[in-house]
């Protein structure tokens, strides 16, 4: 690892001018001669450095500015202030030499040719990136094996499931062996098993190719498994940058225990184990969620299992939103 950062961002902002339409027909007619514009600060003065080989997680709620930041780092959007540097290039200049070294994958948008099998898009990308035959074959074989998609790359993309498509999207984006990879919600909408598969793959790719990766996600599990470092963005501002474990230790002290009982239990019974967050019984179904201390989650769960008539139990991470809310309120309180 060298000391010069691979990605360097200083005081980066993107402001959009948005036109506010009043609802309804009358609003539409009025908007013909008078329009009110509002400036939305999608990204508002963010700075950070990322070094070679790091996997950094961007965490934030919807509309926090994660994607906008990635788009500026990719050269899609022209920053209102600040000039990001990626691999020593200014992304906005869209130099071919730069574009051949990075890839942007968005879970919400697809690059594959809808009507053709994925393999056709792979060949197209080979032509676009001018990948030599040998390297193309080698990389393709490796990626296809890693993701286990031998059978589906010959099938028309529109007939694939979301998970299969995402795997092919990743392959298409990685054929040119990018050194820098921006993943925007790569696991969105996927089931738990597929999320895990993709996570393992991203990890393996980072190890094998030493790629630097920025990942945005809604799922705490994604970030927890992949990233040592996390940057939390809220309303376009960076509110935390550091070891993910620190955030978890500091702000996500609890885990969530979801319980289903066969018989009625009292709230009091439950309160002995942790904070009761939800409690409901309608005569046939008895469910509850408990907040328990992170370190004691497993022992508490086994205690509950032995003492109460439990049918089902799951231990979950708190949702990302809850953690952010916590971080945000505490960071604010500090100031």
């Amino acid at each position: 690892m060298t000391d010069t950062p691979l990605i360097s961002v200083k005081n980066l902002s993107k402001h959009f001018k948005v036109y506010k339409k009043q609802p309804g027909l009358w609003g539409s007619i009025k908007s013909l001669w008078h329009r009110e514009y509002e400036t939305v600060k999608a990204v508002d003065g963010i700075s950070f450095d990322i070094h070679e080989g790091e996997i950094v997680g961007f965490i934030g709620m919807n509309g926090a500015g994660k994607t906008t930041t990635l788009k500026m780092l990719s050269g899609l959007l022209y920053p209102t202030t600040g000039t990001p540097s990626v691999l020593g290039y200014n992304p906005w200049e869209r130099k071919a030499a730069f574009q051949k070294q990075f890839a942007l994958v968005m879970g919400q948008k697809n690059q594959l040719w809808w009507d053709l099998p994925a393999i056709e898009t792979f060949h197209l990308n080979k032509a676009i990136y001018e990948i030599p035959d040998e390297q193309f074959e080698k990389t393709l074989n490796k990626l296809v094996k890693l993701l286990d998609v031998e059978d589906i790359i010959q099938i028309q993309v529109r007939k694939l499931s979301l998970g299969q498509r995402m795997k092919c999207e990743l392959i298409a984006a990685l054929l040119h062996n990018p050194k820098v990879l921006f993943l925007d919600e790569p696991t969105i909408g996927l089931d738990v098993v597929m999320q895990k598969t993709l996570r393992d793959f991203i990890k393996a790719y980072n190890k094998e190719f030493g790629a630097t990766i920025i990942l945005t996600s809604h799922y705490m599990d994604d970030v927890k498994e992949l990233c040592e470092r996390a940057i939390i963005i809220d309303h376009g501002k960076k509110i935390f940058d550091g070891k993910l474990q620190d955030i978890i230790d500091k702000y996500a002290r609890n885990k969530i225990l979801s319980l289903v009982f066969s018989k009625s239990v009292t709230k009091k019974d439950l309160a002995a184990f942790g904070t009761v967050k939800e409690f409901s019984e309608d005569g046939t179904h008895y469910t509850a969620t408990l907040l328990v201390a992170r370190k004691e989650a497993a022992t508490t769960a086994s205690k509950v299992l032995s003492k109460l008539p439990v049918v089902d139990v799951t231990i979950e991470e708190p949702p990302i939103e809850a953690i952010i809310r916590e971080v945000f309120s505490k960071e604010k309180a500090k100031k």
Partner: protein
């Protein structure tokens, strides 16, 4: 460098071939209005031999040439390309070592070759059929004439391509482009001589016609192949510089447009 665009071109070619029924229907739909137009002219010529210096066979010849040029030079990608930009779907091109404009061009050319292969034989058949009902002035063409005419066609294609591209690029500023699309259609047909020979139009329109380069797409090549005008160096330069100007405008529009891209969605 060229190889990647050839790859796109090849895919578009394959894709167009999948929609041959649709293509065939479009050919018929495109030819029909011209037939209606020819019958109108026939009615206008009833009892007259010459109108504004044109005989009926000359008029029909004019329109057949218009039809032919229209087939070869026109581009219709504004609609879906504008939608593509508005919906933020061009991220793919902007993040890869690949030019969006060249992509549009390769795809359009790929589709064009297919549509020409299908429409030109149909058009020739229609012409033969029509000439049985309405007299058409026969054309005598030399090899030089044919070559220069082909040059005009190629240039005409690029001019129409530029104009269609402007409509697409204006999407970066305006929300919709359907109105602009119609505006393009009206102005191109009116000021290029595609709707009616320019001699028939009022004087104010002829003045605009003289200034705009649109005449180089239809009226000038037709007049040339009919032997009414010669390819002088002056004309050649005029055509060439108009073309350069259009390419220049396109480049400026594009460089300004990308600053406004908002990459919606995702």
């Amino acid at each position: 460098m060229l190889k990647k665009y050839l790859a796109i071109y090849r895919y578009m070619f394959i894709r167009s071939l999948q929609f041959r029924t649709e293509l065939a229907i479009y050919v018929v739909l495109d030819v029909l209005p011209f037939f209606v137009l020819l019958f109108m002219w026939q009615a206008a010529f009833a009892g007259k031999d010459v109108i504004n210096g044109f005989t009926l066979p000359q008029i029909t010849q004019y329109y057949f040439l218009v039809m032919f040029i229209e087939r070869v030079t026109s581009s219709y990608f504004e609609n879906w390309r504008s939608t593509e930009i508005r919906e933020g779907k061009i991220d793919y091109f902007l993040t890869r070592p690949f030019s969006y404009i060249n992509e549009i061009l390769s795809k359009d050319l790929g589709g064009k070759v297919v549509s020409l292969l299908i429409s030109i034989p149909g058009l020739l058949a229609a012409m033969v059929l029509m000439s049985l009902i309405i007299p058409v002035e026969p054309l005598t063409i030399t090899a030089i004439h044919a070559t220069v005419f082909a040059g005009f066609l190629i240039l005409g294609y690029f001019m129409q391509f530029c104009i269609a591209l402007w409509i697409v690029l204006l999407t970066f500023w305006f929300e919709g482009s359907a109105g602009l699309e119609h505006f393009k259609w009206i102005s191109v047909t009116l000021f290029s001589g595609a709707m009616i020979p320019i001699e028939f139009t009022p004087e104010w329109l002829q003045k605009i016609y003289a200034v705009l380069p649109l005449k180089y797409i239809f009226a000038v090549p037709i007049n040339y192949i009919q032997g009414n005008i010669l390819l002088t160096p002056r004309l050649g330069l005029e055509v060439f510089f108009s073309f350069l100007l259009m390419v220049g405008i396109t480049k400026i529009l594009w460089s300004k447009a990308v600053y406004r891209y908002s990459s919606a969605g995702g």
